[in-house]
């Protein structure tokens, strides 16, 4: 439905030097899918989204929505944002304070070149407001809405013109934690029910994992990895992705041999079976990522055959309620493991960790600078 090819956007300003805010971005989103741009603040997510919306003019690239080219750097096509007919929810919601709730939501229908009869406008708007459960507040002044209600009104306004594409820029970031959880489910439900193709921008990894069909992780204007939530979490391709999405253990090593699943890697904590599809030569220095919850702990040596088993000493532990974090020393390397509170090994005691090779991801490039525990 939406295809982005080689998109780059530069901010020119007379006083400062140009900022390459999005550089060579490529992705495509099938119809009905929710695609998330995820990355730290300032990485270019909003810029990419605004380029799709037409609020920024990219320097190069092609943007195709459906079978309509809305931007092409080479053939100088630029469709104005008001002619693209994409719905958009802004981070600040951008609810117009001088209009009522109803008028806010009716605006997209009123500014159409083809006028709709008043009755039809009313029906459509009320149906949309009902969908976001704001119909009882239709006559309120928009300034009297709470944060969560404003967010839903912004969504209703974006959806009322039945756009083929919905753009959401951190729609939940201005809500408090409780409401955010609730709206996350609500959003997902509405998106799945309407089957509307959606681009979702967020810096919150758990939001991205919870909502998306597919995630693109961005860093410094570039997409570093695209994949399903599970892919991104379990098989991060770079140290940046592994580090940004959840906490992880980075382990340095050298490839010794191939195995059925991938490779055998020698490291400071012993030799590990690790997973990787593409070709790596024996002898290459690599770094790996193992999630804390993928280090399975036991007090006696486990017997699984295909799992790597590592022995260590507990150096510290933190009780977190639903789980417990262990810091475990293995040959001068400290690992973080997270497990069920039923394990009660005392500090100083010996403990065994087993790792599924599939959960031990070899990263691109070495991560020695970022190797850290979280």
């Amino acid at each position: 439905m939406l295809t982005i090819e080689n998109l780059s956007t530069v901010y020119q300003s007379p006083s400062a030097k140009p900022v390459l805010a999005a550089s060579d971005v490529n992705f495509s989103v099938p119809k009905g899918r929710l695609f998330t741009l995820l990355g730290p603040s300032g990485c270019g997510k909003t810029t990419t989204l605004r380029s799709i919306a037409g609020l920024e003019r990219p320097t190069t690239g092609v943007i195709t929505a459906g079978n309509r080219v809305v931007f092409s750097g080479d053939s100088k096509i630029f469709i104005a944002p008001n002619r693209r007919q994409f719905g958009m929810v802004f981070q600040s919601y951008a609810i117009w304070p001088h209009m009522s709730v109803f008028e806010n939501a009716a605006f997209p229908l009123r500014v159409r070149s083809k006028r709709l009869p008043e009755k039809e406008i009313k029906d459509k708007v009320m149906k949309m407001l009902a969908a976001v459960s704001l119909d009882h507040l239709a006559e309120r002044q928009a300034t009297q809405l709470s944060g969560g209600q404003q967010q839903r009104l912004a969504l209703a306004r974006a959806l009322v013109m039945e756009p083929e594409l919905l753009l959401l820029d951190e729609p939940l970031s201005n809500l408090d934690a409780k409401l955010r959880e609730k709206m996350r489910f609500e959003l997902k439900k509405i998106q799945r029910e309407l089957g509307i193709t959606t681009i979702y921008v967020t810096h919150d990894q758990s939001e991205a994992l919870a909502l998306s069909h597919e995630i693109a992780v961005m860093n410094q204007g570039k997409i570093v990895q695209i994949g399903s939530p599970r892919d991104i979490y379990e098989r991060p391709k770079t140290a940046f992705v592994a580090d940004f999405i959840g906490s992880t253990n980075f382990i340095e090593g050298v490839i010794r041999d191939r195995s059925d699943h991938g490779y055998i890697v020698d490291s400071a904590i012993g030799s590990l079976a690790a997973d990787r599809k593409d070709d790596l030569t024996v002898g290459t220095a690599v770094s790996m990522s193992i999630r804390p919850e993928d280090l399975r702990l036991s007090e006696t040596p486990p017997t699984d055959t295909n799992h790597t088993v590592i022995q260590g000493t507990v150096s510290a532990k933190v009780f977190l309620g639903e789980c417990i974090d262990f810091k475990i020393m293995v040959n001068e390397v400290e690992l973080l493991a997270r497990c069920h509170p039923s394990i009660r090994t005392p500090v100083g005691g010996t403990i065994y960790m087993s790792v599924d090779p599939l959960k031990c991801a070899i990263l691109n490039g070495t991560a020695s600078r970022t190797a850290s525990l979280h």
Partner: protein, 574 residues
């Protein structure tokens, strides 16, 4: 114990404590008295006078309602009121429409020549009202107007439309600045979401941008309305010759008729004061609730400007036309006239007789150097006094918790409601009656300038005062500095950028001041603007033009100099 020593010492030396308190209270009390005296006495006396007959040597003034009866019984006074309101309303509306249009074009579209838009906004500062009016008379009067000669009888500047045209054109840049500020404080996503909803550039402008800026636009309208109803130059030069009178020119007329009717002038002045007071009241209320729609997010990025395609040649063209009308033509016509021996419309014959004769005549004019020197003295003196006085007042109103400090704020802002001519009138009347030896001297004009520009000083100083952290002062006090020392060595230096900007602004507006001076000057005490006025009254058009060209050039150079210097030293707020 060592920490206690200074306190103990102070306790042991009550005299020193007393002295410390003394300077502070002495300064505070003094400033309060000065401000009260400056602003309240003229106002009070104006009211008194309006209820009294004009006293003469033979018969003392008596209590009477006569003035108000004269002012309001005749049908003529209704006409006067109608004219004043009509003129102010139309002028404000015209200036606002032009200014808002340019603000939108500049902030929201990709119109060419945008870098010139802000330069345009200092035009009312550079070209004084009287010169602007005179130059438009030379352009569009039925007898000598060049445009009327070129395009046939095209436009009669001596009319209500002419007055609105000249004053509105001149003050559109003020509207531009006010509305621009409102547009800039708007959350860009409010307009972007309208675009995303399918609204066109024009729909977005009318349904969102202007609606959201509405409180600010209304406030701008009131400011412009007050300024227009106080306007003296335009109604005096364009209205009086055809008997079209507004309050300001009627006051001037009443004072200058024979015998002069001060009582009637005062009654008009009181009515005018009432109108401006109501205006100021609503304007301050509007700006207090201005935050109603302010939805500014912390993001510093400006919204992307809309590409308006070929329309931008039109908007750019309109802007150039405006610059021609407001700077190009007026300056050129003055320049042309200044190079003549006798005023004449441009022609081949006239071109052959160009000369610098007028400049030589002006420079040899006996009163020339006195007038310039008087203006310089008044500008420098007035600006310095205002900035120092208001720095103390701002300190009191912002820093202290003294009861009733708001009253001081109100007092210092009171002159906002005084039209220049009313201020001139009330000072004249007061010091005529209570002779302390300043009537008909430069001192009374200095006093008028100080009063008139007090509010500007307040604005510049309070902006910079609120930015100075209180602890900076407190730490000076903890280091043992006295109040006076702290004020002189810490507060004033920190406020320097604001002080400088305000000082320069007041210098520039002082040099152009006419409407108060016109009732207060006396032979030998002329200032630059009065000299221009006299040239006009005497029909010395070429001398006037030469003088005007020199004045505009000098003001222009001064402002350019100041701007390049202040860029270097980081003086903000010009």
């Amino acid at each position: 114990m060592a920490m206690m020593t200074p306190t103990n010492e102070a306790m042991g030396l009550p005299g020193r404590v007393m002295r410390r308190l003394d300077t502070k209270w002495f300064v505070i009390g003094g400033a309060t008295l000065v401000v009260a005296w400056l602003t309240l006495i003229p106002l009070g006396f104006l009211l008194w006078q309006s209820f009294h007959s004009t006293g003469t040597m033979q018969e003392p003034a008596v209590l009477t309602m006569e003035n108000y009866i004269t002012a309001f019984e005749s049908a003529e006074s209704l006409v006067l009121m109608g004219n004043s309101l009509q003129f102010a309303f139309l002028t404000a509306a015209f200036a606002l429409v032009v200014g808002t249009f340019f603000a939108w074009v500049n902030e929201r579209t990709n119109t060419p020549f945008k870098s010139l838009f802000f330069a345009m906004s200092i035009i009312p500062l550079i070209i004084p009202g009287i010169l602007f009016t005179v130059s438009w008379i030379m352009l569009a009067s039925p007898q000598i107007g060049i445009l009327n000669k070129v395009f046939g009888s095209w436009f009669d500047i001596y009319s209500m439309a002419g007055m609105v045209w000249v004053d509105g054109l001149h003050y559109a840049p003020v509207a531009f600045l006010l509305v621009t500020a409102a547009f800039r404080s708007m959350d860009p996503s409010l307009e972007e979401s309208a675009m995303m909803s399918g609204a066109s550039v024009v729909q977005t402008a009318f349904k969102v941008t202007l609606k959201l800026a509405w409180p600010a636009i209304l406030a701008a309208f009131i400011i412009l309305f007050i300024r227009a109803i106080e306007s003296f130059e335009v109604p005096a030069l364009l209205g009086l010759p055809i008997g079209l009178r507004v309050f300001t020119s009627a006051i001037y007329d009443a004072v200058h008729s024979y015998p002069s009717n001060i009582g009637l002038a005062s009654a008009y002045a009181v009515v005018l004061l009432l109108i401006t007071s109501v205006g100021i009241y609503y304007q301050s209320r509007l700006s207090n609730q201005g935050s109603k729609y302010s939805t500014v997010t912390g993001k510093g990025f400006r919204p992307r400007v809309a590409d308006i395609g070929r329309w931008r040649y039109l908007t750019g063209g309109i802007f150039i036309l405006y610059v021609i009308l407001v700077v190009g033509l007026p300056f050129l016509v003055l320049l042309w006239a200044s190079l003549q021996r006798y005023y004449s419309v441009p022609s081949w014959n006239a071109v052959q007789h160009l000369s610098f004769n007028a400049y030589a005549k002006v420079l040899a004019y006996p009163g020339f150097y006195t007038a310039v020197w008087n203006s310089v003295k008044l500008a420098l003196g007035g600006a310095t006094i205002v900035m120092l006085l208001t720095s103390i007042i701002c300190w009191i109103t912002i820093r202290t918790k003294i009861q009733g400090r708001w009253l001081l704020d109100v007092l210092a802002s009171l002159p906002l409601v005084f039209p220049g001519i009313v201020l001139g009138l009330s000072l004249m009347v007061f010091y005529l009656n209570f002779d302390i030896g300043i009537y008909a001297t430069l001192w009374i004009m200095l006093m008028a300038y100080v009063i008139k520009f007090l509010p500007y000083g307040m604005r510049y100083n309070s902006t910079s005062m609120v930015q100075i952290h209180k602890e900076l002062e407190e730490s000076a006090a903890m280091s043992g500095a006295s109040w006076l020392m702290t004020f002189r060595r810490v507060v004033l230096p920190l406020m320097k950028p604001g002080l400088m900007a305000g000082w320069i602004y007041i210098i520039v507006v002082s040099v152009r001041e006419l409407s108060s001076s016109i009732l207060l000057y006396s032979p030998g005490n002329e200032v630059i603007s009065i000299m221009i006025w006299e040239f006009w009254q005497n029909g010395q058009y070429v001398e006037l033009s030469a003088f005007g060209v020199m004045m505009i050039t000098a003001l222009f150079c001064f402002i350019m100099l100041v701007q390049s210097v202040s860029k270097r030293f980081g003086v903000k707020g010009m």
